[in-house]
């Protein structure tokens, strides 16, 4: 091959996935004379779009002309164009055109972005659901990969992962871990988010997250992969997902309240008081208006907890919630709300972005193990000594197309998720409505 292109440090197709963040690329030629080429983006109809720049010092543009020395290599960067994510695997391409207009190389890729579940295409929905069920199925060697995901979020793990400053960073790592496991099954899948402050007719449908029967278990279509979903909660039977959407109706004084189903297809989650902007505002000091993470993290109660308890069923308890796939869409939205707060208030680093700077891991005088920015996180650090839980085996964080986080991630590594402060911090995911600030990006 006279010309080759690397994306994320590799020519392999499995690396050709980008987000809004800058991805390091390079083009190489093996011919013996200098060659000037132009790089352009050619998406399929409705496909993702990318932009180019020579280096971090430049602005992004729709094309880039480079001169390749004989047998040489030139580095450049690409980034997904905000507002134009892919909908299918490799639905866009970088074409390399020489001075005469001849196409010399074509590199398919995907702008892989987390999206509002209510706006997925049917194909995106089906691929996500199928990957979820395959992850939760007995595989080679009798292993069920999803079991580890369930066992990270148990009653015993509750004090490690909830009710503390690291709640948001830990759950960012948790959903990214799940997403990378899904991508090992189908590389085109991202975790969608459930906007629990809005009606979601596409999500709460028999083809997607299901519709409850009168007794509360979910009903699905014959083609929905979730008809095969199995609860992996230790000690549980084999229940169909139970998720009854309840609305408490208070009549006039003196009458009994009534419980009726509410329809999340036409209403927001009933217990949620804080909408998206209310949630962002939680970060503000009521007097000064200054924003800080230690206030923003109140959102663990409402909307996070409130979204959980808007239903009867597995999702309404921390120990059982992963048994309902909606849980992961809920947490993806919790993470997105944090990402939006970070975007609006430059919350990617420093004490304002996360108050517990430094290390508390096993420091005898520091009781808040796992809360400090430099602390490693359970279970990836395999620290199963009390007070840490021992319900999940842990081990190296699943690899992605980017190098972060490290196999044993710290709390602090979860903050700069798009590499705003340091490109090496990019965790390899982005949201369809959370921008990134890099030079020249519209």
């Amino acid at each position: 091959m006279p010309i080759e292109m690397e994306i994320n440090g590799s020519t392999a197709p499995r690396s050709a996935y980008v987000t809004w963040a800058s991805s390091a690329c390079a083009i190489t030629q093996t011919e013996n004379e200098e060659l000037t080429v132009t790089l352009r983006n050619e998406p399929e109809p409705g496909g993702g779009r990318v932009r180019f720049r020579a280096s971090a010092a430049d602005d992004y543009a729709d094309e880039l002309t480079v001169t390749l020395p004989a047998g040489g290599r030139v580095a450049f960067q690409i980034a997904g164009r905000f507002g134009s994510p892919s909908t299918r695997d490799r639905d866009t391409a970088i074409v390399v055109v020489d001075d005469a207009g001849n196409e010399r190389h074509r590199k398919p890729l995907m702008v892989r972005i987390r999206k509002n579940a209510n706006h997925l295409t049917e194909d995106e929905r089906d691929r996500f659901l199928s990957a979820m069920v395959r992850l939760n199925t007995v595989g080679v060697g009798g292993l069920i990969p999803f079991l580890d995901v369930q066992n990270m979020h148990t009653a015993q793990a509750d004090p490690e992962i909830h009710q503390r400053p690291s709640f948001l960073p830990w759950h960012r790592a948790y959903v990214l871990d799940l997403e990378r496991r899904l991508q090992a099954i189908d590389a085109s899948v991202t975790l969608p988010y459930w906007r629990f402050d809005q009606p979601n007719p596409f999500v709460f449908d028999r083809d997607f997250m299901g519709v409850p029967t009168d007794s509360g278990e979910l009903d699905f279509t014959a083609t929905n992969p979730l008809i095969n979903w199995v609860s992996r909660v230790a000690g549980s039977g084999n229940p169909r997902i139970r998720r009854y959407n309840f609305l408490v109706i208070f009549g006039p004084p003196g009458t009994d309240p009534q419980i009726r189903p509410f329809d999340p297809a036409t209403a927001r989650a009933v217990a949620v008081s804080n909408g998206q902007l209310d949630t962002v505002n939680l970060g503000a000091d009521p007097v000064t208006g200054d924003h800080a993470f230690d206030r923003f993290r109140q959102m663990e109660g409402d909307p996070h907890g409130a979204a959980h308890v808007s239903f009867f069923g597995q999702i309404s308890s921390a120990a059982t919630a992963p048994a309902d796939p909606l849980f992961f869409l809920l947490h993806c939205n919790v993470d997105r709300l944090w990402a939006r707060w970070q975007w609006l208030h430059d919350g990617y680093g420093g004490p304002r972005a996360y108050e517990l700077v430094g290390q508390g891991d096993r420091v005898p005088t520091v009781p808040r193990l796992g809360d400090f920015a430099d602390d490693t996180m359970w279970p990836w650090n395999q620290d199963r000594q009390p007070p840490r839980p021992n319900t999940a085996p842990g081990g190296a964080f699943p690899p992605g197309v980017v190098s972060a986080p490290r196999p044993t991630p710290t709390v602090g590594e979860m903050l700069d998720f798009q590499g705003e402060l340091d490109p090496a911090s990019d965790l390899g995911f982005g949201y369809d409505d959370v921008e990134i600030d890099h030079g020249g990006q519209p």
Partner: protein
């Protein structure tokens, strides 16, 4: 003006509207219905003053119970941060002289708090004890909440009461199909014979469905699951869930049974599509390849007029081909 500036401006607008709504909610001069309408725009109370007014409203029996319940909803963050308030809320929840509307509001807020407050864990035994008391009260709406939350916690008392209700319907706390779903959160051995009895002599169709579903890991029930999956007289949904259950206790038998139903052209097409869906996703990696069956499915897409069946035939074939 950047998108960020627009968003910050919108957030400021929401803050102003929230302040107005909160003022209206606490305004005794306003009509109760107006105040309840304002509650939905208050968000959670943030300032010390609003938190103080919220607690005062909850404590004041002279206020409309619906307003008191709405105030509890706005105090979720404050509740999580003040251990004494958790104890107070649990006491009020236990108080059967308080209106049911307030107690329901407290129950939802407390369940949220036990999801997200480090202050709450020491109060959990007390909370569960109150839920057990509520189970025996004659307030069906409040009981629904208590049953759900106790069952999720794997509470022994509620497990015993649910099984008792399945054996003795006049002692039942809820419908049998709901009782089985709740028991399934933590299915003890002593529930299995009860489920087998329900399959043999079901009080209604829904309870048979739930009992069959939860006998999946009971090896003794595997022949029953197989029989039901192949029974053309049985409801398609029940046949399918029996096949899915069989995949847990005897996967190779389940593959054979499921293939048989897919090949049965007299069976309901939706059922065949569901069975093919299950084969696509649950066939173990070491299952014996059946080339004749795979060939049959490959042709099915072009032959069938059923959209779901064609869709699943396409997916099955594409997966088999890798």
């Amino acid at each position: 003006m950047s998108d960020r500036d627009d968003e910050l401006r919108a957030a400021e607008g929401v803050r102003t509207k929230q302040a107005e709504a909160t003022q209206r909610f606490f305004d005794d001069a306003c009509d109760v219905e107006d105040r309840l309408a304002a509650a939905s725009s208050c968000g959670t109370f943030q300032s010390d003053e609003n938190i103080r007014r919220g607690w005062a409203m909850v404590a004041d029996a002279e206020h409309d119970p619906r307003l008191r319940a709405a105030a509890v909803n706005g105090l979720v963050h404050a509740l999580a941060e003040e251990p004494d308030r958790i104890a107070e809320a649990i006491d009020k929840l236990a108080d059967d002289t308080e209106p049911e509307a307030l107690r329901v509001g407290l129950l939802v807020a407390l369940q949220n708090t036990f999801f997200s407050s480090s202050a709450s864990s020491s109060y959990r035994p007390q909370y569960l004890n109150v839920l057990r008391k509520i189970v025996e009260e004659q307030l069906p709406q409040l009981r629904k909440f208590a049953l759900e939350y106790l069952a999720l916690a794997g509470d022994d008392y509620v497990q015993r009461r649910l099984i008792e209700g399945l054996k003795t319907p006049e002692r039942a706390l809820c419908e049998p199909e709901v009782a089985i779903q709740l028991l399934a959160n933590d299915l003890h051995h002593d529930a299995v014979p009860v489920l087998r009895d329900i399959v043999a002599s079901p009080p209604n169709a829904a309870s048979k469905r739930e009992a069959l579903r939860n006998l999946a890991s009971d090896a003794q029930s595997a022949p029953t699951l197989e029989k039901v999956a192949l029974d053309g007289e049985e409801i398609p949904e029940v046949r399918h869930l029996s096949a899915v259950g069989l995949f847990q206790s005897d996967p190779s038998r389940a593959v054979a049974v499921t293939r048989k139903v897919v090949e049965d052209e007299s069976a309901d097409d939706e059922l065949r599509a569901a069975m093919l869906n299950t084969l696509t996703h649950l066939t173990p990696p070491d299952a014996e390849v059946d080339a004749a069956f795979d060939g049959y499915v490959a042709e099915l897409e072009g032959k069938t007029s059923s959209e779901p069946l064609a869709k699943m035939a396409r997916l099955y074939t594409s997966r088999r081909r890798g």
